[in-house]
């Protein structure tokens, strides 16, 4: 882990029902800054790399469309899990992404979505 101190920021995400993996990811380089995981978690480097790739594609889409919009979050549903990605901070160019992977059968998506939104909003600037 490159920035183990950043693990503190992930602690609230671990309270989400069905939590499997949480990562803070450098959006620009795809580097994992910190991670927390349960025993059945997917590989953090691969999940984080996928999150960064997703956001990069969506940023490219946004850049091409030039609508002036800002990416708020990404929610992906797999057969057994949810992948949720949200930029941390309120900058127009967020540097850090929060990725949470949760067990689909134990997670209320709406509640998890709300938890992540509140969590990111609660990070001190």
């Amino acid at each position: 882990m490159i920035l183990p101190e950043a693990g503190d920021l992930l602690t609230p995400a671990m309270a989400i029902d069905g939590f499997r993996l949480g990562c803070l990811v450098d959006a620009s380089t795809g580097m994992v800054l910190a991670s927390a995981q349960s025993e059945d978690a997917p590989a953090a480097p691969t999940a984080a790399a996928g999150a960064a790739d997703l956001v990069n594609v969506l940023t490219l889409l946004n850049g091409k469309l030039a609508t002036g919009e800002i990416l708020e979050d990404v929610m992906i549903t797999f057969s057994d899990s949810f992948f949720m990605v949200r930029p941390v901070g309120r900058d127009t160019e967020p540097r850090i992404l929060l990725l949470v992977v949760a067990d689909r059968h134990r997670t209320n998506l709406a509640m998890a979505h709300r938890s992540l939104r509140d969590l990111c909003a609660s990070f001190p600037a």
């Binding site: 920021l9 580097m31 991670s35 349960s38 790399a49 946004n62």
Partner: protein, 287 residues
């Protein structure tokens, strides 16, 4: 800061010990040396010479700093090579530049990180410093680099940097080399780029970082040059320049324009750059 002077002095140090060449160049030898220093819990400096001259600083077997003449320094204040007299003194005192490094332990931008990263701004600040250290390591661990004799020290001149485990750093450097290999057919840190001749800003939306690159891009500009100019990571800047190529806002002079769908070959994939192994660097497992 004079990079030529630093390169010369570090090369002189490196020439004192010249390891045998391997099939894959010297990078594996340097990685092995870093692992051994970690195992021994070493404190001191490992000079590295070659395409990117510089040094890796250890404390207690963990890396606290790395510098390369081909990447940006966090600031003159954090330069361990300057404190050891391996750079020209006057360069550290250029107008507007902070003074030379203070006494060991006096303070360091990463020192706050030893407490905790409880705010986004602090985390971002730690990331910026860490990014430049990993950027230097990525350059130093190229196949053309060679290490010199390790110089042990009781106290490092770079203050209380945030220690990082060698194995995590080597994994990250390997991932970055893989990303660079993906981009190599289109763009390297030393590829000259230029603004698109018919650049139409309202036709695309760019981030402030990308805009700062666009504003500085001219004939012969390279990602490395932009990074050094802005004090940013060469690796990160190369990726941002590639994204500007994808958006059609920058071009590589002399190369045919990208196809209508804007795709530049296979593009960047961070997933392809990581191995399939399960991560082991996480917080303790939760039930």
């Amino acid at each position: 800061m004079s990079q030529n002077s630093r390169r010369t002095r570090v090369r002189q140090l490196a020439e004192s010990v010249w390891p045998g060449r391997t099939v894959n160049g010297y990078a594996n030898l340097i990685a092995a040396r870093l692992r051994r220093l970690a195992d021994e819990g070493s404190t001191g400096m490992l000079p590295v010479a070659g395409r990117g001259d510089g040094a890796v600083f250890f404390r207690g077997g963990q890396v606290v700093n790395a510098e390369s003449s081909r990447t940006s320094l966090p600031s003159p204040r954090t330069s361990g090579l300057a404190a050891l007299g391996l750079t020209r003194r006057e360069a550290s005192h250029s107008p507007g530049a902070p003074g030379p490094p203070g006494p060991p332990g006096e303070g360091h931008p990463g020192e706050a990180g030893l407490v905790a990263a409880r705010s986004v701004s602090r985390l971002t600040g730690m990331l910026e410093l860490t990014e430049l250290i990993i950027d230097a390591l990525t350059e130093l661990l190229s196949s053309e680099s060679r290490y010199a004799k390790f110089r042990p020290a009781e106290v490092l001149p770079v203050g209380q940097g945030r220690p990082m485990p060698v194995e995590a750093l080597l994994t990250e450097v390997q991932r970055r080399h893989e990303v660079q290999r993906q981009l190599a057919a289109v763009l390297t840190p030393d590829t000259a780029v230029a603004r698109h001749p018919s650049l139409d800003p309202p036709a695309a939306q760019v981030s402030p970082t990308q805009w700062s690159l666009l504003a500085r891009a001219g004939d012969g500009t390279t990602p490395r040059g932009l990074a050094m100019q802005l004090g940013r990571s060469v690796f990160g800047t190369t990726i941002e320049v590639y994204r500007l190529l994808e958006l059609g806002l920058l071009v590589v002079p002399g190369r045919p324009p990208p196809p209508a769908d804007g795709r530049l070959g296979t593009g960047i994939s961070f997933i392809r750059a990581v191995s399939g192994e399960r991560g082991s660097d996480a917080l303790p497992a939760v039930s």
